[in-house]
Structures are given as structure tokens and as C-alpha cells.
């Protein structure tokens, strides 16, 4: 029963009681009269019935007015005050009550607000202290986060049921190709790594079970080396997985750690070398067999006829030729293979030249000027050895010719980039250059155990001297092959220390039982949510289309800003101007975006096993349902609606739109009306509503859904 109904029932009953007493008094009074007196009274009444009637009406009206005034000045305000005081005391200490009402009410509001001020001060004080303490802890956490994310290995920690409590980005890359859902290409089923998700989605359950059994055996035997290995095919990679158990003090099994190593290259390399070697042995065996057999026959039978001896000689000649060829081929193959193992880093040609020039000025104290081509090309170099090689050469040159100034030019030449170093003075003699090329690189006290020839060889580079036809100046040319790829293959994420949030771990999941099955009786605080929002071309689910879906996950009461879903969708129809004003998505932003039949399966998978939450979920769910026939995707997840939950919590307030709600609950709305921005606001709203619902005795999913169903807004069906 709402406060409004309660009040009016109470008011009605009291008026009824008062009037009954009055009526009783009148009846008693009439009974007490003699017949003459009552005749006179009736006479008087009937003569002045109009006045009496008006009097009675006036009295009733006055009673009504007074009651209404009381209702609006005291009863409604009191209800609101009660609700809003709960707000102040629970989720939003900076909320202040603004309620119109009687003088007493105003005093009460003032008193509560004063109290709230003091409470907030205190609250802020404590908060500050907590924050300071937390900042220190966060700092340490962040150092660990940076460390974890830059590890060349993937790391995953799971609880005993295989739910992921911690993972680094590399683990996500290895297993699912990309940990980032906003980058995921639609189409095809992706494997997912995420907090609270099951490891068995990405790694075969049997492999892990086998590894854990093995570990269990080792634990029983009290072995010290408790690790189990297996190899899996990850996302375009071969991964070696080491499984290590996590035990509590009582040596009970609490979970396990998976360390992932990318062994793709190692394997390829080993296989390649093995293959080259096997081929070599086979070819050599075969050729030598012919030669040896022929030679031994000649030696053993010196009197053999001329024709036959000639034939044997030919065999020997042919086989030795084929042997030479084999040796050359294998040497080439092996060298190519070796080269791919040498760590050369791509860098822009101009960058390399600048680096060399700077070192020339510093180290050799020679003036250098640089002239470059307009277009940047990429070369693969080990910049240290290459710089040292050039420096060494120019230093020798300076000693020989007395050159005191170099001009450097970059000249693209087909598949090569030429770095020319020219000087005024005598040209260098070819035999001098040959001598320098084979000497160990050494400049003053800095040296390498390599010669220029070695360095050039590693880079497939050539170095030679000539005199330029145009300028007539002597010149040393370094010719490097152009690299096709510009990337190193290694991605590093710059992590900014104190602010960055490490959301990819959640150790509170350690002690949670598998919970997907009994969602209904789960506490709202324990559930995993997918909070989402759609942007559409309009409000009619029959004709309008989805143009954006944004979603964020809530695991263990934490909104995970790293685990998001953010896709624009090509609606295959026009986008009305009116709707653009709301969501700001212009038609050209949707060009080339995937269509709903590509995006919806991804979203379905993203939301799998979670409770779906939206503000005014009836509309969003209706939009998704519209696509059921076309895509075959059905969302059977339990659904919660923050609009309905807000109405459950604050029944006297009339407005529950996102902005009003966010303001009431003290949430900063950042990116309103982008699907992802709204989803995040809705998620934060949900987190604030959960304790308020608990205060009303609504703790489980079942109870929340029952309460939602009862509220007035539930009647609004799309």
C-alpha cells in the first residue's frame, strides 16, 4: 500500500468516526425532546433548511481542505524525507533534501540537511584517509599490473572451478586473439577470456583435468616439482602451458595458475633445421654411395675395359657436381633461416640516419649534415652494430684522408635504400676499404667482436666506395634492403601509474561456487551482469533498427571497464534526423559497419551466462527480440531493469530517467547517449541500487524480479 492510500484511508476512517459521534449526539438529543419541542425544532429546521445544508457542506469542505493541506504539507513531504534520508545515509552522502511543506517540515528538513552536512564532512574525512592508504596499495598493485602486462608469457589464475580470477593481456592475445571486444571482428565464434568467465571456454577441459590429476598425484607423493605441462593450439599460435596449483595454508587446493609460452617460432625453427639436416644427410649419403662404389670398383679392378672405366669416371664427376650443389643449397637455406633468427628491428631510414649522425658528432667529433628523401622507407637493423660499423668506417676514413665534414643523403633505389656519406678530399683506395671491412670494429675503447663485413652480412647490406658523377665528391655508400613490414610484432601497452585501474583481476572469485545454474536464488551482489544499451533509429521496434550496442560487465560488484562490448551497426535503412540529435551517430559513421546478423551473435556470446541489465530494458529487449527470426539468436538470460528497480526503491518520486536517477544517486554521467556511455551509467546505477534494494528486504534475483513486476512501470510494454 502506498503512503498516499494509507493516508486517505486513515483520513476517511477518522472523518467517518467523528461524524458517527456527532450523529449519535444528535440522535440522543432528539430522543430527549418532548413531542412539542421536537415539533418546534422540526419547524425551525424546515424553515431554515438552506442555511443548515450550506453549513454542513461547508464543514465537510473545510475538513477536506484541512486534510488535503495536511497531506501535501506533511504526509507527502515526510515520505519523501524518509526515502531521501535513506539515500543520504547509504549511497549518496552529498544528496540534500529539497522538499516543500509546512513550517515544521521545513525545520525538520533543515535539521536533517545540517546533520547530513556534518555526516558528509566526517564521511569525506574518513574517505580521504582511506583513499590515501589505498593509493599506496594501488601503486604497488599497478607496478604488478605493468609487470604482468609486459611479461612475454601469458598468465592466468583460476579458482578451483576454473573461473578466471586474473589474466594479463598476453594471455588474452594467445587464447582469443584479442582481449578487447571493441576490436573483435564480427562473424565466427571467438573464444573469450574475461574475469569470472570459465577457462574451459578457451582451453579443452580434458587437458586441464589431466594436468590437475597429474598435479594431484605429485602432491600426494610430496614431490617438490609440482607442475604439469601440455601444449595447445591457441589463436594462430602453438602454446606451451604450464599448470601450477595454488594451495592454502592447509595445502588444500584453491585454484591453479596457468603460464602460457608462445613456442610457435621455436617449433618452426626446430622443425626447419631438422628438415634441412635430414635432407642434407639423405642427399649426401646417396651421392657418396655412387662415388665410393665406383672408385672402389676402379681400384679393385684396374684391368677393367676402357669403356667401363670412362662410365665410372662420369658417375664420379656427376655425383661430385651434385654434391657441391647440395652443399651450396643447404648452406643458403641455413643462412636464410639463421638470418630470420637474428633480432633486427624495423625503423624508418631517416631515424637511422639521424641516430648515426648524432653518434658521429659525439663520438668522432666530425661535423655532419643530413639531407633526406621525402618518402620514409623502413629498414630492419640492429641499430647498435650498424651504427658502430658506419662510425668505425668513417673514423678510419678520417684518419686516412683527413676528411673533417660529411654530408649524408638517403637515396631510395628499388628494393634498397642507399645511405651516402660524401666528403671533400681524397677518395679512398679500394684495397684500404677491403682491409677495414675485415678488421674487428673498434673506436677508441668501444668495440665489437665483429667486422664490418659481418655486420653487413647480417643485414644483407653492401658497403662500397665510389666517386659521385654529379658532385665529383668521393662517397661511401651503405645499401640496406627495404623492409616490407613496419611492425615489430610486439605490442607494448603504456600503462600510466597511479590512475590506471587494474581490473583484470578479482581474487574475491576464489571462494565462489559455480553459480550459473542457481541464478534465481543468488544474491544480487554475487551475480555477473551484462549491462547494455542500444541506440536505435527510432522508438518503434517494428520498423526501427539498432545502430549501436554498448555493454559492460559487472563481476563481483565491480564494473569492469576493460571488458566492454562496443559496436556500431549498419541499420540497412536511413537514420532519421530526429534520432541523430539524440544519439549523435551520423549515417557516414555507419558505412561499412557490420550488420545486425553479424553483431548479435557476438553480443549473445558476450552476455552468455550473465544477467542482462538495461534502463527501460523492455524496449531494448524488444529490439533484440525483433531480430530473433532473422538471426536465430535468442536471449534467454534473466533480465533486470534499472528503471523498474528505481521505482521499487523510490516509489514516491515520479521521475526515474537516467539523468534524474544518476543525480539522485550521486553518479557522474560522462558520455550520455552513446550506447557504451549509457551502459556504464546504467551499470553504476545498478551498483547503487543494490544496497537500497537490500534495505527493502530485496536480496536475491528472484525477489528483485518479483518486486519489479509489481511496480506500475511494468505495465509499460512494448
Amino acid at each position: 500500500m502506498t503512503p498516499k492510500n494509507r493516508f486517505w484511508i486513515f483520513a476517511g476512517l477518522s472523518i467517518l468516526a467523528t461524524n458517527l459521534i456527532l450523529l449519535g449526539a444528535v440522535v440522543m438529543f432528539l430522543r430527549d425532546l418532548t413531542s412539542e419541542e421536537s415539533a418546534v425544532l422540526i419547524q425551525i429546521i424546515s424553515n431554515h433548511a438552506g442555511y443548515l445544508f450550506v453549513g454542513v457542506i461547508l464543514i465537510i469542505a473545510a475538513q477536506g481542505l484541512v486534510l488535503d493541506a495536511i497531506f501535501h504539507n506533511y504526509i507527502i513531504p515526510l515520505s519523501k524525507i524518509a526515502d531521501e534520508t535513506v539515500l543520504i545515509n547509504s549511497v549518496n552522502p552529498s544528496h540534500r533534501i529539497k522538499v516543500e511543506g509546512g513550517g515544521d517540515i521545513k525545520q525538520l528538513v533543515q535539521a536533517i540537511n545540517d546533520g547530513a552536512d556534518r555526516y558528509e564532512d566526517l564521511f569525506r574525512n574518513v574517505r580521504q584517509k582511506i583513499n590515501r592508504a589505498r593509493a599506496e596499495a594501488d601503486n604497488e598493485k599497478n607496478i604488478m599490473a605493468v609487470f604482468m602486462s609486459e611479461l612475454p608469457q601469458g598468465v592466468l589464475i583460476c579458482n578451483a572451478e576454473g573461473r578466471i580470477l586474473l589474466y594479463n593481456r598476453r594471455a588474452g592475445d594467445f587464447l582469443s586473439g584479442s582481449g578487447d571486444w571493441s576490436e573483435t571482428e564480427p562473424g565466427g565464434r571467438e573464444k573469450l577470456v574475461g574475469l569470472g568467465r570459465s577457462i574451459f571456454d578457451v582451453v579443452d577441459r580434458n587437458l586441464i583435468r589431466h594436468a590437475l590429476n597429474e598435479i594431484d598425484e605429485k602432491l600426494k607423493q610430496n614431490e617438490t616439482d609440482i607442475v604439469s605441462l601440455f601444449v595447445i593450439a591457441g589463436h594462430d599460435k602453438t602454446i606451451r602451458v604450464e599448470t601450477v596449483p595454488i594451495l592454502d595454508q592447509a595445502r588444500r587446493f584453491k585454484g591453479f595458475l596457468l603460464i602460457l609460452f608462445d613456442i610457435t617460432n621455436e617449433l618452426e625453427s626446430e622443425n626447419r633445421v631438422g628438415f634441412i639436416l635430414q635432407e642434407l644427410i639423405r642427399d649426401i649419403r646417396s651421392s657418396i654411395a655412387g662415388v665410393r662404389s665406383a672408385v672402389e670398383a676402379i681400384l679393385e679392378y684396374p684391368e677393367m675395359e676402357e669403356r667401363r672405366r670412362k662410365c665410372f669416371n662420369e658417375i664420379i664427376h656427376k655425383e661430385t657436381l651434385s654434391l657441391s650443389e647440395t652443399v651450396n643449397r643447404v648452406a643458403g637455406e641455413y643462412y636464410d633461416h639463421f638470418k630470420t633468427q637474428w633480432p633486427l628491428t624495423p625503423m624508418p631510414d631517416y631515424g637511422l640516419l639521424q641516430m648515426i649522425a648524432r653518434r658521429i658528432r659525439e663520438k668522432l667529433e666530425i661535423a655532419v649534415d643530413i639531407d633526406s628523401a621525402e618518402e620514409t622507407r623502413w629498414v630492419k637493423v640492429d641499430s647498435y652494430s650498424m651504427t658502430m660499423a658506419v662510425l668505425f668506417l668513417l673514423n678510419e676514413l678520417k684518419k686516412e684522408t683527413g676528411a673533417a665534414h660529411f654530408s649524408c643523403t638517403i637515396l631510395p633505389a628499388g628494393r634498397f635504400v642507399n645511405f651516402d656519406f660524401s666528403w671533400r678530399g681524397d677518395p679512398v683506395k679500394t684495397d684500404a676499404l677491403r682491409k677495414w671491412k675485415s678488421k674487428m670494429i673498434m673506436i677508441r675503447n668501444e668495440g665489437l667482436p665483429l667486422s664490418i663485413r659481418d655486420v653487413a652480412g647480417h643485414h644483407s647490406a653492401e658497403i662500397w666506395c665510389f666517386v659521385s658523377r654529379e658532385s665529383g665528391l668521393p662517397c661511401v655508400r651503405l645499401s640496406l634492403p627495404v623492409s616490407e613490414s613496419e611492425t615489430t610484432g610486439i605490442r607494448r601497452n603504456i600503462t600510466i601509474l597511479p590512475q590506471s585501474k587494474m581490473e583484470f583481476y578479482d581474487f574475491d572469485l576464489f571462494d565462489q561456487p559455480g553459480r550459473i545454474s542457481e541464478l534465481d536464488d543468488s544474491l544480487l551482489t554475487d551475480l555477473t551482469y551484462t549491462v547494455f544499451d542500444t541506440e536505435t533509429t527510432g522508438l518503434d521496434p517494428k520498423t526501427d533498427e539498432i545502430i549501436a550496442i554498448g555493454a559492460v560487465r559487472i563481476v563481483n560488484g565491480n564494473l569492469l571497464r576493460n571488458e566492454i562490448f562496443d559496436h556500431l551497426v549498419d541499420p540497412r535503412r536511413d537514420v532519421p534526423i530526429d534520432s541523430i540529435r539524440i544519439h549523435g551517430v551520423k549515417p557516414d559513421m555507419l558505412e561499412g559497419k557490420p550488420t545486425i546478423d553479424k553483431v548479435l551473435p557476438l553480443f549473445h556470446q558476450f552476455a552468455e551466462g550473465t544477467v542482462m541489465v538495461a534502463h527501460n530494458a523492455a524496449f531494448d529487449m524488444r529490439m533484440l527480440e525483433e531480430k530473433e527470426a532473422e538471426t536465430g539468436i535468442r536471449f534467454i538470460n534473466p533480465v533486470l531493469d534499472t528503471l523498474l528497480l528505481a521505482a521499487v526503491v523510490h516509489s514516491v518520486h515520479e521521475r526515474h530517467d537516467i539523468e534524474t536517477l544518476a543525480e539522485r544517486l550521486g553518479i557522474n554521467v560522462t558520455a550520455r547517449h552513446t550506447a557504451l556511455g549509457d551502459a556504464i551509467s546504467t551499470g553504476e546505477t545498478l551498483l547503487k541500487l543494490i544496497p537500497l534494494l537490500a534495505a527493502k528486504g530485496i536480496g536475491t534475483l528472484k525477489e528483485a524480479r518479483a518486486a519489479s513486476r509489481k511496480t506500475l512501470y511494468a505495465k509499460l510494454k512494448y
Binding site: I281, R282, D283, R285, S286, I288, A289, G290, V291, R292, S293, A294, E296, A297, E300, Y301, M304, R308, C311, F312, I315, K318, E319
Partner: protein
């Protein structure tokens, strides 16, 4: 009557010296350049011993060996693998299939001749 030897190898540079060697030692010989050819020749030529390469075009030496051993009429034929496949596993496989000897390339002529002679002579006449 001289013993008959079939040489199966697709490399003429091996076949020529070996054939010469065998003939110098008083054996009559035939050659085959593939497994299929060898299987065709056997019932006509009926060799006492086969020098068999493993890596042949088409049917390989292992298969040829298997076919010979499955035929009861050919049980007496001795088989020596002569091959560039020198791994222990290959050797083991060859012997399991019923070969009498396994000689990996390169080999000395004397070794082949001795092995052939040993397999074709009764034990008491062994050199």
C-alpha cells in the same frame, strides 16, 4: 649354376657400379628402377637375392619387401636393403619386415660383396 641377383634402385649412378661388382663376382644380374618393375621381374627372373633401395618412386622398398614376404613361393629370396635412410628406426622397420640385412649408403663394395656371399652360401662354406 650362378646365383641370380636383382638390383632395385632408381639411381643409375648406383646401379651401374653395383651391377659391375656383382657380375665380376660371378653372379648374373638384372636391374629394376622402381618397386612395381621389381615385382614384375621377380616371377620371370626368380632371383636368389634382391638388393633393394628404400626410397623409390611410387611403391617404396618397404612395401616391395612386404609383398615378397607375403608370397610363400618367394620365401627363399634373400633381401638386403641398400639405402640412404640411415636412421635406427628405418633399420628396425626393414628387419621386422623380414629383410636379411640392412646396409646404409655410402657403403664399401667389399661389405656388399661379403654380405651377398654370406647370405647365398651354406653356413659351412662361409668365408
Amino acid at each position: 649354376m650362378s646365383h641370380k641377383i636383382l638390383i632395385v634402385d632408381d639411381e643409375p649412378n648406383i646401379v651401374v657400379p653395383i651391377q659391375f661388382l656383382m657380375e665380376q663376382n660371378g653372379y648374373s644380374t638384372m636391374t629394376a628402377a622402381s618397386g612395381e618393375e621389381a615385382i614384375e621381374i621377380i616371377p620371370k627372373f626368380f632371383p636368389d637375392l634382391i638388393l633393394l633401395d628404400i626410397m623409390l618412386p611410387g611403391m617404396d622398398g618397404f612395401e616391395v619387401c612386404e609383398i615378397i614376404r607375403l608370397n610363400p613361393d618367394w620365401r627363399a629370396i634373400k633381401i638386403i636393403f641398400l639405402t640412404a635412410k640411415g636412421r635406427e628406426a628405418d633399420k628396425a622397420r626393414g628387419l621386422v619386415l623380414g629383410a636379411d640385412a640392412y646396409i646404409s649408403k655410402p657403403f664399401s663394395n667389399a661389405r656388399v660383396v661379403n654380405k651377398v656371399r654370406e647370405l647365398l652360401s651354406p653356413p659351412e662354406n662361409q668365408i
